[in-house]
Structure formats: C-alpha cells, structure tokens
Symmetry: C2
Subunit: 225 residues, 2 copies
C-alpha cells in the first residue's frame, strides 16, 4: 500500500496534464487575482541572484523570474511536468524528488540565494527534505520562500491541528482530478519546523483576496542561520 | 474629543473593578481553560531570571510567576488595578503608561530578561511603545512575550485588515462593561511591526480551545537582535 507521500506523487503524475492546462489557461481565480503576483513580488523584493523553484510544475514562475533578470532553475518530482517545462526551450529544468535535490547538478550554480516553494510543500516530510537540501544547496543566510494555503482558511470546520487531508479541487474549471492527499499544518507548526532546523522566520505575508477580504494564501520567508 | 488610545485607558479605568472580579472569580472560560496556562507555560519554558509584566492588571500572573521562583515586576497604566495588586502584600507593582516605562524604577532590576504582555497590547501605538521600552529595559537578546486574541478568530466577518474595533464583552458572566476600543492587527502585521524594530520572531504559539478545537489565542515571542 502506498504511503500518503507516495500517493501525492502518483496523483500529481496522473494530474500533470490537467494541472498544466489549469495554469496555462489561468483557470484558477485565486492564482490569477492574488497568489501568482504574491510569489513574484516576494521574490523580487528579496532580489536573489539565484533561485531554485522547487515544485516548479510547467515552469511559469521560472519564466517570470528569468524575464525579470534573475538566474535560477526549476525542479519537479513529476517527469511530465518537467518535460512540458523544457518544451518551452530553456534547459534550466530538472526532474528530482525533494530528497534527492542535493545530488543534482544545476549548471554552473553550486548554491542558491533562495529556494522557492509555490504551493509545492504538500507532504509531511517535505518540510524536512527542503530544510535538509538547504544545508548544502543554499548560500549562507539563504532564504526559503514558501507559499501555501492559509491554514486558517483551509482548516474549514475541522479541528485546527496538523494532519493529512484530501485536496479540494473545487473551483478549477471543469477539470476532473485524481484525489491527492496533502498534509495540513497550523501556522505555528510551519514556523516551528523550520526554526528547529536552524532557519528563522524573516517575513510572513498574508495576501488578501479582493473578493472575500480574507487571506488567499500565506507566505513564509525563512532565513538560514 | 478622546483619541482611541485615550479611550482605552478611560474605559479600563472605569472597568477596573469589574475586570478584577472577572479575573479573580474566574468568570472567563477561555482564560480558565486555555490562555492563563498558555502564558504561564510560555514564560516557564523561557526560564527568564527577571520579567516585567506589562499591563499586569490585578497581578495574578506576577503572583503565579513569583511562586515559581521568577523575579519580576508588574506594571499597569490603570492606578486602581495596581492598587488592587499592591493590596495582596507584594510591593513589586508600579503605575505607568507604556510610553513612560523607561522612566520608572524597578527596585534593584535595571534590565529584564523578558517583557510579558498578556492581552494588554490594545492600542495602535502600543506596539511601538513596548518595542521602544525594550531598547533600554531589556537585556541583550531579551524577549517580548505577547498573548492576544487570535486575529483569524477575532476577525469574524469583517475584512482581514488592521483597524480599530470595539471590544466584545460577550461571555463574561453578567458583568456590564464600558465599551473599549482595541486595534485589530493581522498576524503578518504583528510580526512585521516587531521585525522592523530590531526584534525577530522566536516562536509563535496557537493554544487550542478544547471546546471549539480552534485557537483560543495567539502568542508571539520576539527576541531583540
């Protein structure tokens, strides 16, 4: 039987094509209105010389950042996503699980100024794997930028505590998605997990959705100590 | 006409006696079940040699901490609160506005290991005044522990943005309170205000209310850099 972590990879492999359509045809309101801009703005304000977009999907964020003059790479665990990304002509994409990141090569870049995880920290162990990868792949005082569902909004009527949940695919056009689990974390747990691994919170951002006046997501920027 | 900040002091002066009754007769469920323990636990884990309880009210928290062997003082802007606190026999209470804290004497203690603000950061400028007081009154790497209403719970149906609100006195026995304004801050704003003033978030705690399974409050522990 698959673990939840394996199930995530399997589901996203099945969903890769549909998800690419959602991103490229801009079918997800919250992304178009709020969260795409929020992640780009957070990176731009940090002015990293180099970035690693972890869980890059079909690569839109890398292309946005390259256009703005930042150098960096995209990485995704799903081969088909990376294939689509490479199809746009730039070679700076690679397939890798998060755990194997330290084993990969990224052209001439040995260490990055920042990691970017845009709605791509989905598992329970993922936090550990990313923090761990930062030990070798981040420059001193390197940053990790994470955008994710806002725990207080995503919590819904369930108890506000860490645990596995099922992804809601509501509001994503007419696409049918394969069910994918994800690991819910409280705000305090997100911060604690990185603090105990030698990172410290630099900034917390709650971009507001103009239609609901509630946070559309949350961004954590951690700095390696 | 009073500013909101002045109105807070006026209201709490009027409410002092009633509030003392709420605390001493344990009329507020969330305090008894969750938040009293949460603040004591946060302080105990930090093991400060000395503390300053800012907005100490009738002094219960000081007494709890003294009993556990921590040395410290209580301060409140409302004279009647401090009078009640002094009535219990210990002299380590003083009346002071938050802005005037650096002008006060606290026996032999010149600098504190930590400030404690337990539901006592109510105004818009209060954050600034406390951060400012820390410049002279905190030891190097001193901590500020703040417990307050959890923004995501307290927000209710209003837009999730900073601004003045009216205190809800619901659920506090049969007591009638004078209306008191308070300044609502988002989670990101709490953190940003201290980060821009040379403090960094050390820990964020969300104590869960056993009846609602939602956070009963939020605690921020900031460290001076």
């Amino acid at each position: 039987m698959d673990t939840n972590e394996q199930q995530i990879l399997k589901s996203w492999a099945i969903n890769a094509e549909r998800w690419t359509r959602v991103v490229q045809q801009k079918l997800l309101d919250s992304r178009v209105l709020v969260t795409d801009n929020a992640i780009v703005k957070a990176v731009v304000e940090l002015k990293p010389q180099t970035f690693l977009d972890i869980g890059c999907g079909e690569g839109w964020l890398c292309r946005e950042l390259w256009e703005r003059g930042f150098d960096g790479w995209g990485v995704d665990a799903i081969a088909q996503m990376v294939e689509t990304a490479l199809g746009n002509g730039d070679e700076r994409f690679v397939v890798s699980s998060y755990r194997d990141l330290p084993l990969q090569s990224f052209g001439s870049i040995k260490q990055f100024d920042c990691f970017i995880c845009n709605f791509s920290v989905l598992g329970e162990n993922t936090v550990f794997e990313i923090a761990q990868a930062g030990q070798s792949l981040l420059e001193p005082n390197g940053k990790i930028i994470i955008q994710t569902l806002h725990p207080h909004i995503a919590c819904g009527e369930l108890p506000y505590e860490n645990g596995w949940r099922e992804t809601s695919w509501l509001g994503i056009g007419d696409e049918e998605f394969h069910p994918a689990p994800w690991y819910f974390r409280t705000v305090s747990s997100w911060i604690e997990e990185f603090h105990r691994r030698n990172y410290r919170l630099l900034k917390l951002i709650e971009p507001i959705h103009p239609k609901t006046n509630s946070p559309a997501s949350i961004l954590f920027i951690f700095e390696q100590q």
